[in-house]
């Protein structure tokens, strides 16, 4: 189980991005983390994966624990070895390497031959498309294939927790459905998933628990079905208003509803 408690992150020693985030990802569950641009979702993930250094970020308060062990001071390689792998926003596949080599980078921490082979078979079962394009240079794959490759690469490390940052980014609706089904499949095979999404409907439809962030704080959390029913969520994320109809932006009267969650 991943537990984040009162996490505060500062970039460049001045920019306070996370102001006390607390969340939990229980084993074997899908947890969705939603929020507008700049809310701090990606920063939360960087903190979990140990990738803040690259961006001049520091954890100034709070802890991250994984199965009871603190991981907020650990290096990325140790975190991956402990069982948390992330798929970065925007896929970030190694475009110059072919598909197989991309997958092999994912297995970097996985030293046993048989475990790597098993992970490879699992990835090929999940993504038959990659099987066909094993020798293709990754940069020439389509957007959907690249996203699948990015997820497959993360799975090569045999993670207990898979962290996905906007897997539906820039994909056609049909592909978003496909990615959604894949996430469900991966979860059924026993991997917990922490899912960041702007596509709230998609994320909440598969999640066991949902968190909503705004400007560095968690403003709401709970059962995804309840969140989907919530007026604020409907208005801000689903483009619906109270009665569930689609709303024309012409009718929006900003003063009628408060524009921020709390405060």
């Amino acid at each position: 189980m991943l537990q984040v408690a009162n996490l505060e992150v500062v970039y460049n020693d001045v920019v306070l991005v996370l102001r006390g985030i607390s969340l939990e990802v229980p084993d074997g569950q899908i947890v969705a983390l939603l929020g507008a641009n700049g809310a701090g979702k990606t920063t939360t993930l960087r903190a979990i994966g140990g990738l803040l250094d690259v961006h001049e970020g520091d954890i100034t308060k709070g802890t991250i624990t994984w199965n009871g062990e603190r991981i907020d001071k650990k290096r990325p390689a140790e975190i991956v070895r402990a069982g948390i792998t992330q798929v970065l926003e925007g896929r970030r596949i190694f475009a110059e390497l072919n598909v197989d080599d991309n997958l092999r980078t994912g297995a970097h921490t996985n030293r046993s031959r048989s475990a790597v082979d098993a992970a490879y078979t699992r990835v090929m079962d999940l993504f038959p498309v990659l099987q066909e394009r094993r020798r293709a240079v990754a940069g020439y794959l389509s957007g959907g294939e690249q996203q699948m490759l990015a997820i497959g690469r993360a799975l090569m490390a045999d993670p207990k927790l898979l962290v996905l940052d906007e897997p539906s980014l820039g994909l056609a609706p049909k592909l978003v459905q496909q990615i959604r089904d894949i996430v469900v499949d991966i979860n059924r095979q026993g991997t917990a998933v922490l899912l960041i999404e702007q596509n709230a409907t998609m994320a909440l439809s598969i999640a066991d628990h949902g968190y909503i962030m705004e400007t560095g704080k968690l403003v709401m959390d709970g059962d995804p079905k309840k969140l989907l029913q919530d007026e604020d969520v409907q208005e801000f994320y689903l483009g619906l208003h109270g009665s569930g109809e689609r709303k024309s932006f012409r009718d929006v009267k900003h003063y009628k509803r408060r524009k921020r969650w709390l405060s």
């Binding site: 994966g49 990738l51 991956v80 970065l88 110059e96 980078t105 921490t109 020439y140 794959l141």
Partner: protein
């Protein structure tokens, strides 16, 4: 009868000239290829332009001189024929140079990660000066022979005549190039290519970027040392490693740029092209109007012409992009 003989002799000497231009070019190109390969591996994996490459090559050659001739370590532990002892000591010295590469990376380069590329390049210039002064101090004013078993002996077959050291240079280069090509398919090698492409994404896969940097520097320094050895042997140098050896490496820069700064195959091909160009210019462009030493500038001319046509070098990648 006599005119025929003269014509025959002229044809023979023309063939000899051509063959010797080729063999000389290949052996020179082999050294350039090794230098370029090490430089490109460091640049590609760590984005550091290492101006210290020449100093490292000279240091490597000096270490060989020291280990093989002064203390004969660890060759004397093994015994056997002298050439074997020398080879073992030389390999040990190359490994020591690789360790020096590791130390340089850890002490001077690692703290500079994230700084602008030019700042790091400046650090390597400082390293170059420091290393050269230290190794020149050890070498002192006299050139030091490496105690190699090749000497000045030459192998001849028909029109071909090559120094043993030249044959060794080409053979060793081929072996090392194949080994490097194989290395890039191993777990660490793929991790290095991944790191070269996208450091953060590599870190997210659990690749320790610092370790990859260290390995790249070790390999680069080791290759530089091997090149430094062959650059200090007959016929490249008359007496062994001297304060000139470090500057030999600057002649490999056209090879690096020509092949493309970030291309490993380009480094090898560029090395041989520049070696052949220099050698052919030395043999054929002897018109007195060019003056003495014209062959020395030919590599740069070739580089300029190639860059006019292909600004990224022959094999330099622009960027793979799906359209």
């Amino acid at each position: 009868m006599i005119p025929v003989l003269i014509a025959q002799a002229a044809a023979d000497s023309a063939v000899d000239k051509l063959v010797s231009a080729i063999t000389n070019g290949l052996s020179l190109g082999a050294i350039y290829a090794l230098l370029a390969l090490g430089f490109v591996i460091i640049f590609k994996a760590t984005q550091v332009i290492s101006f210290a490459h020449g100093a490292i090559a000279a240091l490597g050659a000096y270490l060989v001189a020291y280990f093989a001739t002064v203390i004969n370590f660890p060759g004397d532990l093994i015994g056997g024929p002298t050439w074997l002892q020398w080879t073992v000591s030389a390999i040990f010295a190359v490994l020591m140079t690789a360790v020096v590469g590791l130390v340089i990376e850890r002490l001077a380069i690692r703290p500079m990660i994230g700084e602008p590329m030019f700042s790091i390049a400046m650090v390597t210039i400082g390293l170059d000066i420091a290393l050269r002064i230290i190794s020149n101090d050890f070498i002192s004013t006299e050139a030091r022979p490496l105690g190699d078993p090749f000497g000045t002996s030459v192998w001849e077959a028909g029109p071909v005549s090559m120094a043993h050291s030249e044959i060794a240079a080409i053979t060793v280069t081929i072996i090392l190039v194949v080994a490097i090509a194989w290395f890039f398919r191993t777990r660490i090698g793929i991790a290095m290519r991944a790191t070269a492409f996208d450091q953060e994404a590599a870190m997210a896969q659990g690749i320790s970027v610092g370790r990859i940097f260290a390995i790249a520097w070790a390999i680069g320094a080791g290759l530089a040392a091997v090149a430094g050895i062959f650059a200090s042997l007959f016929p490249r140098a008359s007496q062994g490693v001297s304060s000139e050896t470090a500057f030999f490496v600057f002649r490999a820069f056209p090879a690096i740029i020509l092949g493309g700064l970030d291309s490993v195959p380009g480094a090898v091909v560029g090395g041989f092209i520049i070696g052949l160009a220099e050698s052919f210019a030395g043999k054929y462009l002897t018109w007195s109007g060019f003056g003495v030493g014209f062959s020395g500038i030919v590599p740069y001319l070739v580089m300029m012409v190639v860059l006019l046509v292909r600004p990224y070098g022959l094999f330099g990648t622009e960027e793979i992009r799906r359209v």
